[in-house]
């Protein structure tokens, strides 16, 4: 299954979203939280992101979602030089994108399909 990494400025936000997505999609999908800066501060940390990607990777690829601004920069920095497309940062709403990606991964879909589902979450209405 495609692994999922959730990068947030807040460790609680990343962890809570990982719990929510696991609750919906099931625990067989690897969903890793990568939240917070050094010492538990609000922020993002390249080492935390790098380790989360390694834990999430089961060989079928990894989708990375980021909450805001500099979280994107942190992920891009971590992924610098990785051009094989095995780990993909997707431009998607954080909560909806994570849940959509998790369900598609749990259904056994391939990386491209999981990426597309996360990106399409942008257009989804909540009600």
């Amino acid at each position: 299954m495609v692994g999922i990494v959730l990068v947030s400025h807040s460790s609680e936000l990343a962890r809570g979203l990982a719990d929510l997505a696991s609750q919906v999609a099931g625990t067989e999908v690897r969903i890793e939280a990568a939240g917070g800066g050094p010492g538990g501060s609000l922020g993002t940390n390249g080492d935390t992101v790098r380790e989360a990607i390694l834990r999430a990777d089961r060989g079928q690829g990894v989708v990375v979602l980021a909450d805001l601004g500099s979280a994107v920069l942190t992920v891009r920095h971590v992924l610098e030089g990785q051009t094989n497309g095995h780990v993909r940062l997707v431009d998607a709403p954080f909560v909806e994108g994570a849940v959509a990606a998790a369900v598609m991964s749990s259904a056994g879909l391939a990386l491209d399909d999981v990426v597309r589902a996360a990106e399409e979450a942008r257009g989804a209405s909540k009600f």
Partner: protein
């Protein structure tokens, strides 16, 4: 041969189409090639999209209208009817 089929099925009492039950439903739909929609309360959702299905807000006891289009449409609807009938919280 492409075909379309329709069916209705009622959500078990006390089981809303949210979180885990919704994902179970979507994962069943994803097993088939046909495009599948699910309708309730005047809304229609892509049965293969968890966000679409969650947005239906279907409560227990709601009648769902299933529609499938494709070469395995009949099989998809049979599987989804069975899935919905067997959903638990």
């Amino acid at each position: 041969m492409p075909a379309s089929s329709e069916a209705t099925v009622t959500l078990p009492a006390g089981v809303a189409l949210h979180a885990r039950p919704a994902a179970t439903f979507v994962k069943t739909a994803l097993r088939f090639r046909s495009s599948v929609t699910v309708g309730s309360n005047g809304k229609v959702a892509n049965a293969k999209s968890i966000l679409d299905v969650l947005a239906l807000g279907a409560h227990g006891g709601t009648v769902l209208r299933l529609s499938a289009d494709g070469d395995d449409a009949a099989e998809a609807l049979e599987a989804l009817k069975g899935c919905v009938s067997g959903l638990i919280e």
